[in-house]
Amino acid sequence: MSSGDRFICGIEIHQQLNTKKLFCSCESELSEESTDTYFRRLRPTAGESGLTDHAALIESKKQRGFRYQSPARVSCLVELDEEPPGNVNPDALDIALTFAAMVNAKIIDEIHFMRKIIVDGSGPGGYQRTAMVAVDGYIEISGKRITIQSVCLEEDSARKIEEKDGEVTYRLDRLSIPLIEIATGPDIRTPEEAMEVALRIGTMLRATKKVKRGIGTIREDINISLPGGPRTEIKGAQELRLLPMYVENEVQRHIMLTEIKKILSSRNVSADGKLEDVTAVFKDCQSKVIRGALSENGKVMAVRLQGFAGVLNGGDGKLRLGAEMAQRARTKGVKGIFHSDELPAYGIEQDIVNKIREHLKMKEQDAFVLCAEKENVCITALEAAVERAKEALTGVPEETRDPQPDGTSRYMRPLPGAARMYPETDVPPIMITSDRLERIYSNLPELPEETEKRLISKYGLNDQQARQIVREGNEDLFEKIAKDRSMVSIAATTFLGTFTEMEREGTNIGAISEGSVLEVFDSLKGSKFAKEALPSLFREIAKGVSLNDAVKKLGIGAVDESEAIRIIAGIVKEREKFVREKGTASAGPLMGPVMEALRGKLDGKRMNELLAAEIKRILD
């Protein structure tokens, strides 16, 4: 850290491995099968002191319990915590060891699985099994060293299916799919660097050829703080290209909260006001939200925040503590809250605002926040909002945040305290033998830069092309297609041009499976259609249409040559006068209508030849 640093950031990458599950022989696949559920309660375990944390116990009593679906093909009694775990999957451990070796980390001699206690139901046991496999490695990004603090092997969590009346249903398909967790040091200093680091680690993971691909198989956590400031974590980002935005937005949020703290500390501030019932003030109010709540026997409750005026929404929209408070309130089941910095608005008139100010005996610099709902809901929501207002006095609250598709993030829960890690007594420690290490080190996979070099020398790609193919993880697929040398340039165009273009248009490239890419190229080789048809074909396939259906739908089944000649002859005949006027130069303008009629059905070059021949025939 140097004094010029704007912020400090480290990331954690979670990558699913392409093996069976970590502690049993179940397939590591998701299932769309809904099954009967098993009901479970979880309660925090007594710590090593033998004592259960009272607050945690109260919290667990509030939970109504969890339901688990256990599709038989992809989960068994081990996932359901009805059978002790089996031995650690040796393939998964090998992949973690391999990756550790690739990032020059020190491999732990004897690996101990731990239970990370999490009682949100995402693991039926009430914990996630995790083991530290290696520490203290590094990677290099444009000559800069980024430390790899740890490489862990752990199990993925269960998949949340629905939440109803406080009861959460999970499916056990995803539970215990092996994950590698890679934590970098706090070495990242720019938003772009966060993405570069994630990209590099992702590429190295793929180089092992044993990781899962596709949506949700790799997830990033981002840890951010201002120099010397508290840390927040954005958990489970899936879209790499959004990482810089998450980082930048979070840094701005930290700066904003630090500014608010400064303002508040210069004022006489208190958030200890009493919640007051102000329903009477609203009896003639026309606001839809208020009317709706009151018609269902709700109340309007408000609370004074002494000295908070202008920070809830002020500084030309730069200070937005109100939004933070609203997020907290929403976690308690309300749609939203109103605060004085945004009123009058939403059908709440100035005279009502004045009456509330009067009722709460507010001074100039005071603010209020109000909520219209059933009384008990109002109380918990406003308490959460006030709690958040209080935290503003100390600056940035340490919390875990949920990444949003627009590059922002939302409050999820407080950052876990000192990790509650207990030994996993069902899994004996694993000694890493020297034979195993020797096998790992002598079979390290080709690094991405080596793959690039090979693509350049073997297929004649340029640096930039090779880098992009490897970076996007398409090298295997590319090589499979480029085995047939006549396909090299079409494959390169597809991966480097077509797919990039499609992605820019918003097409989900991830939905195109490797299998369907290979199928398309096989058909192309079999002259089922022309290469010009590829972009529209892939667009259809990305929508979930099969290759055959896409060909039919687009009407691009290849035509035989006599049919093509007949069509071209027709086009030329229609424009015979024009052809006779322009002579052979008419070929250029006529190519338009010909392409229109035959795109994707016939190779463009051949179209050109046939057109020229037809023009020549007429002129002759």
Binding site: R41, I111, M114, G125, D136, M421
Partner: protein
Amino acid sequence: MNESGELSKMLGSAGADEGSVISLTIGDKEYEGVLMSHRDDIIVIKMKSGYNAGFRVKKGDSVKVIGKPATKVHKTQEHKMKNGLPNIVLIGTGGTIGSKADGGSMRPGLSAEHFLDIVPEVLDVANVKVRNIISVFSENMNVDHWKEIAKATEEELNNGAAGVVISHGTDTMGYTAAALSFMLKEISGPVVLTGSQRPTDRPSSDAPGNIMASVRFCASSKAAGVYVVMHDTMNDDSYAVHRGTRVRKMHTSRRDAFRSVNTVPVAHIDASGKITFKDDITAASKRTAAYTDMEKRVTLLQFYPGMDPALFKDVIMDSKGIVVAGTGLGHVSNEMASLFGKAIGKGAVVVMTSQCMNGPLGMDVYDTGRELRKIGIIPVSDMLPETAYVKLMWALANSKDTDEAKRIMNTRLSYETSDRRTVDVIW
């Protein structure tokens, strides 16, 4: 560092105890953490991240103590008694339910008070007194332990307890339940054995639910007798009350491992504590009386094809009682039958049960069965082999001669057999 003891010496001279914060230098790397354990040349430390990791210590590596062990304070919470609630005694005997993580595996050693810490809500339905008498895994339970438990139970019931809950390892809980069923010939209240299939060191343990259901049953029912209360299904909201003589552990790991055999469970308890009885209960005696004498020279044998009498001759001829789990309706080979005949001739009592477990014996159906009866083997209908084993020990010790013991074996004392089996019995 191959010689064992060298690492111990290194740790000793550095003054490093378990729990000390140490700095470990291995080669050119340095690691900091809390010393958890060590063996051979491996030292296990808990690193700042909370992870445990084992490092191989070689010659030239070093250890430095940088912090003292944090003192562990075990505070048992104050539990206040409430007026008007029944008094229940919780007797701890060990087992998974009474085990804690120690040095990387589970060992018995948790006090029964611990249960009040993990299930404080039992105090809403009863005033619970805790009494630890044994701390063993149930495979190490023996006849003397059964006696000890029976006497403690007798004492507590006679001292005014409305019921007794016994926490027990699940492996042999059925045997202890059967033993108590016969020993507590007069019984004034409910005695419930319970345990856990999943240890209490995990948030998903079945122990809290089982204990809560057991205490509820004891607190609210007048059903005198010995029962086992455990999960009825894999859901944490459904519990079955089994008779101590009819219950068997039928799965190694599932929480619903316990099943009543040849009968329905006595009652069902739901998550709210509602008890639904499905079978008769015994009227309570005024006082509890434990008859704990047991004949230890009793053998439990499972017959198998090709069983060689020569291998078993000494065992059988040395036993005063033998329970055989025969095949099907109650059969053994002719060779084994003649060996049993010799034992009977010498005064032993030989009892037949079925290794099918489900269904009664039928020793009049085939010649083999009739022959075995002629020899003097005693069939005990649909009694579980383990229950028959325990009952035979008790019968031999509580009768004046073998004839009386045989009569006892054929007399229903504690619901150990049924005279009819209905279609609602799950098997």
